[in-house]
């Protein structure tokens, strides 16, 4: 029943690629407006990395993943781990727009008593693990994949990592374990926006050559434009056919994507827009 519902949703999208892209782009724009508004209302948060990750999260929640907002604990659901927990405004918006909770709740972000903590917590329906302290999500995904194997379940596990986060040693411990245990159900996506708090990742602590690193660790690697739905979806779907190997998609993105003065700007990694900036940003994103 639920599965059928999901497939129908997918079919609706698939009528044509153009239509699919159009629908996903509309949703992504909506999510970007939520991000800006929620962070503005909260007075703090991380717009830059939320905006760079928006298209990836939109593709996952509104096309790729099997999930049921009415039944967040559905045993066969695909799992999503937001290892870069600070991008949660994008995730919260995707969850609300999917129907996990009322979109009005988004405005409670970071406020006292809210379920929408500054970084993902277990209070929120649709969240399976707390994140925020970087570097831990891939390890959790390895555990989820081992659990799926023990239970003979077929669900997939998607993990979104930041590029700065790849400087954490634990990520590579997990990468080693995922390949060692041949966890083909894991797809890691790197939000490769090239910026971290102190500047360009290659200046702070270079992570390149990234694809070679993952290949050397036994992963299947694809590189895509992280703002192109056909590329994101294409890479994930192709990955399904590769068995017994974890997959990583290096998604090249722009930090602050969609808001002119936030694009490529380190300043908006963890800073909310002021009143004037808020108005401009909303206008650029097609809001009022």
């Amino acid at each position: 029943m639920i599965l059928k519902q999901m497939i129908t949703m997918k079919e609706n999208f698939v009528k044509s690629r153009e239509e699919r892209t159009k629908k996903l782009e509309e949703m992504a724009l909506k999510i970007r407006r939520h991000i800006i508004r929620d962070i503005y209302e909260a007075g703090s948060g991380h717009p830059g990395g939320s905006l760079s990750a928006t298209d990836i999260i939109t593709a996952l929640y509104f096309y790729i993943m099997k999930h049921d907002p009415k039944n967040p604990k559905w045993k066969n659901r695909d799992r999503f781990v937001l290892s870069k927990g600070h991008s949660c405004p994008a995730l919260y918006a995707a969850l609300a727009e999917s129907g996990y909770f009322d979109v009005k709740e988004l405005l409670t972000l970071r406020k006292l008593g809210s379920r929408l903590q500054g970084h993902p917590s277990m209070k929120i329906p649709g969240i399976d693990i707390c994140t925020g302290s970087l570097g831990q999500g891939l390890s959790v995904a390895v555990g989820m994949a081992l659990g799926a194997r023990l239970d003979r379940k077929l669900y997939r596990i998607f993990v979104l990592l930041g590029d700065g986060e790849l400087q954490c040693g634990e990520v590579w411990e997990a990468a080693m374990a995922a390949a060692h245990y041949k966890l083909g159900r894991i797809t890691a996506i790197i939000d490769r926006n090239r910026l971290q708090i102190d500047g360009n990742t290659e200046k702070v602590m270079s992570i390149e050559p990234l694809s070679f690193k993952f290949k050397a660790f036994g992963w299947h690697v694809t590189e895509v434009n992280g703002h192109n739905f056909n590329e994101i979806i294409g890479a994930i779907e192709k990955g399904v056919k590769i068995k017994g190997k974890p997959k990583v998609i290096i998604a090249h993105t722009t930090k602050g994507k969609g808001v002119s003065f936030m694009e490529g700007s380190v300043a908006f990694h963890g800073k909310p827009p002021n009143d004037e900036q808020f108005k401009i940003a909303m206008k650029e994103l097609g809001g009022d």
């Binding site: 799992r79 917590s121 277990m122 399976d128 693990i129 707390c130 994140t131 925020g132 302290s133 570097g135 831990q136 999500g137 891939l138 390890s139 959790v140 995904a141 390895v142 555990g143 989820m144 994949a145 081992l146 659990g147 799926a148 023990l150 239970d151 040693g169 634990e170 411990e173 997990a174 080693m176 374990a177 245990y181």
Partner: protein, 314 residues
Amino acid sequence: MFKDYKYPREAYGKTLREIGRERKDIVVLDADLSSSTKTKFFADEFPDRFFNLGVAEQNMIGVAAGLATTGKTVFASSFAMFVVGRGYDQIRQSIAYPKLNVKIVTTHAGITVGGDGASHQIIEDIALMRVLPNMNVFVPADYVETEKMIRAIADHKGPVYARMGRSKVPTIYDDSFEFHLGRASILREGNDISIIAIGIMVSKALEAAEELKKKGISARVINMSTVKPLDEETIIKAARETGGIVTAEEHNITMGMGSAVASVLSEKYPVSMFRCGIPDVFGESGDYKELMEKYGLTADNIVKTSFNVLKRKR
């Protein structure tokens, strides 16, 4: 005084194997030390439900968390130093905060690991674990208590930390002993003073009580194996009825079990008390018995400390 000496960690491995036979949801992780932590007993019989994560403890904790989200009861083991020391942030964020059903059971805690020296002798693990919300902390005193405790924590839903040492310890309990989370056990009644101990120090406390008896002092001995949740009722009762407390633990006296007891006493029933334990210093290499002598983890020191408490009793 004691005849039977056994390794608690062996009780851990064997009990885990038994529970594994009864329950399919038990999954065990180790970080390259399964032959020392004794999770090997489980691994040999259930290779499908045992995962070695190699020398990568932070990842092991995250993997444990992920498995727990799929409904497994996960035991993650290694030496206390490496799991707690290296994996603290992972335990905090991925286990304690989401309140997942993971049991972190460690061995080779404390200075009794001996020759390996300070790098391996964690004496601050209880402190680190007991300040974490949602975390429960247990320290078994002997082989039998370990068996019962491991069963109890497997049945309990939620995060647990349990620590054992490397060495053999005297068997104190017989099979009729029942372990209850949150309840201390009184091993010996007494009216003049109470000795509250954990782990290897419980047997030392019993020896001390015997010594004190020869000197005309009646000492109550309490095994506070459930450090968190702490059995406050038993502590307050002991303070009220005996008027003086000595605590004994193989741990830094800063923020260990003794400090937990002191907090209860100072707020709820202040009486004269002293803590026996390792002062705020790193350990060193040596035979574990010599180390215990050097750091005052002996029956003699408990006796001496008891007299200091008695002197100050009102």
